[in-house]
Symmetry: C2
Subunit: 343 residues, 2 copies
DNA sequence: CTGAAAGCGCTTACAG
DNA sequence: CTGAAAGCGCTTACAG
């Protein structure tokens, strides 16, 4: 037989005070004598009372324009991807550290983002983080109208009023090209998402531009979907032809590892002896000793810390103007580029 | 200037009906004329009205003993681990498919589980899933008293009244031993978590027991913490000595891959020529072509589907008795056991 | 089928 | 500093 939870009213009776006093004892700035608070807190502790966050959320709607829930909505695609999983882990940690709860919604495609956001908004989330996806113009307006700050992680802010944190994709692409050119390569292939994929587009532009400065064009371009298998398939296409690239820049580590494994297993190729390879992200398996993938690192701890700071500041003070930040990627030289290793 | 959200009252006014009618239009079994419902829904749609889930949750507390929120709390350790990330991805998918929201809390240690649960309970979660951890006896009682069903994933149900889903660890250990024995190995090492780690304990017991039946004892036992690096360190200890094992059973794929990479990189050992290796879990990178790790697969899709079914049934009907299920692991023969490959 | 009203558990002006 | 009371946006017996 489940029993009803203990409410502030029960505690009040037990402590011989009013229900308002109990409420004040639990609100940080509440005007209440320290002695009374101590007493109430101790009784509440004995009774196992915990304030009802849902009820609290309801009552904030009375005096506040916006009902606060203490929850942040997080919308994520491809949660199984190690890069995203890691990102979520950090967001979760940072959000919790600041006292926010995370309401997680995973979607398969960009199209589902609006629906996800609608669902989350029914729970009166105080802010929303969208990972590697964007909102419709309409939902951006709705969020603005309701005063819900939006943080786009890994995407351009599509709309003024929206915050964002992302890596310098263009420069990352340039760096990759730079390294490969410096190593003396000339048949340089590119593997990324579709040509209009937002993550790929700037990395590819920076890459192509830098090659162009040296009078080169990409040797070939292959498309994947950021999975290991798609990297492997790209390698299959790349190395099955007579003319092989002497190096590959791949817009994601997961795909780059697909290429590396395929090269070794399907073609008995050695890296960097037979070709050089650069990835992007610096996921943890890039550093595994039999991989040692040279890559462009995303400083995700700092990026996520910044994203959470920007968002939480705006949840506390909705008047703050939107803010967008970009972080530079860092070249991590390991062993997959010819002649360019560590030390 | 953020503006207040639209409430059922606004819709009622616009539609020329009572607020109760609007509420009924949005509740599945509501006693309302189909014509009225259509009309209300259409007006609500135009106005962009969405029922307030928080307010709904409040009012369920009036007639129900337990306040319902529509949210399931999920407590997870080591979210960055690919095995857990994948698990969360599936839970998220399955929970959403049934119309539940997921309130995610990540913790670093077993000790934080109680605090996490307390936080989640303030949000009146309708059920809780605890991944690879357990609750204190006290919290188990509190959940039972409040009628909150608990699902322990990957752990023994510590207490009657608690549901669980897990893999047959003991049998998994036996299978691993069986395979290694069949391959003719005799210096068989074991690498797992600490000797009292719940995940390890049964796998090790089954493993040791099966070796015993053939008159063997584990050649050595090394301890890790389920990270890649700890696997690598275990390999360092294992292969630095004069006497090397001819095979290793490792209680997790992530650690097994640490061993594999270390063997190749630090010791120039070939697998399975120099030693055989079996992992546990079958994470996606176990199947990468340059790994091809033989392992015991956890059928996580089915396991998570079952866990969600068990939990949601009990959230809908709290009278149902607790249920615990175990799934057998499946041997996935790839290339890391001598003489025992696919085909 | 429909509406008026009570009430869920809080927070917070308001009055003292 | 303290208490009585209103109200947040719903759901649902209750009466018609």
């Amino acid at each position: 037989m489940p029993k009803r939870s203990i409410t502030s009213y029960h505690v009040a009776t037990a402590a011989g005070v009013s229900q308002s006093a109990v409420s004040r004892a639990f609100s940080p700035g509440g005007s209440i004598a320290e002695k009374t608070r101590k007493h109430i807190l101790s009784i509440a502790g004995e009774m196992g009372y915990q304030p009802n966050a849902i009820a609290r959320s309801m009552s904030t709607a009375r005096t506040d324009v916006r009902q606060k829930s203490g929850m942040v909505g997080v919308i994520v695609t491809r949660l199984q991807d190690p890069f995203f999983a890691n990102t979520i882990a950090h967001f979760s940690r940072d959000l919790q550290a600041k006292g926010w709860q995370m309401l997680l919604f995973s979607v398969d495609t960009q199209n589902e983002v609006d629906d996800a956001l609608n669902s989350l908004m029914q729970f009166k989330i105080d802010g929303v983080i969208v990972l590697s996806a964007i909102l419709s113009e309409h939902m951006a307006q709705v969020c603005k109208a309701q005063g819900i700050p939006v943080m786009l992680y890994n995407r351009d802010p599509q709309d003024e009023g929206i915050c964002s944190v992302q890596i310098e994709n263009f420069e990352g692409g340039q760096i990759a090209a730079e390294v490969l050119l410096e190593a003396g390569h000339e048949q340089i292939a590119f593997v990324g998402g579709g040509p209009s994929d937002p993550t790929t587009i700037e990395r590819e532009r920076g890459f192509v531009e830098r090659l162009g400065e040296s009078g080169l064009k990409p040797f070939r371009r292959e498309t994947g979907d950021y999975t290991f298998d798609s990297g492997r398939e790209a390698a299959l296409r790349l190395f099955s032809r007579r003319e092989r690239p002497d190096s590959v820049f791949c817009a994601s580590d997961v795909m780059a590892l697909g290429i590396l494994h395929s090269a070794r297993h399907d073609f008995s190729l050695e890296i960097p002896e037979d070709f050089s390879l650069i990835g992007f992200d610096d996921i943890s398996s890039a550093a595994w000793p039999d991989h040692l993938l040279t890559t462009i690192r995303q400083p995700i701890r700092r990026m996520i810390g910044e994203a959470v700071d920007i968002l939480t500041e705006r949840m506390d003070d909705p008047e703050l103007p939107p803010k967008s930040t970009r972080f530079p990627g860092a070249l991590i030289l390991r062993n997959t580029v010819r002649g360019m290793g560590p030390k």
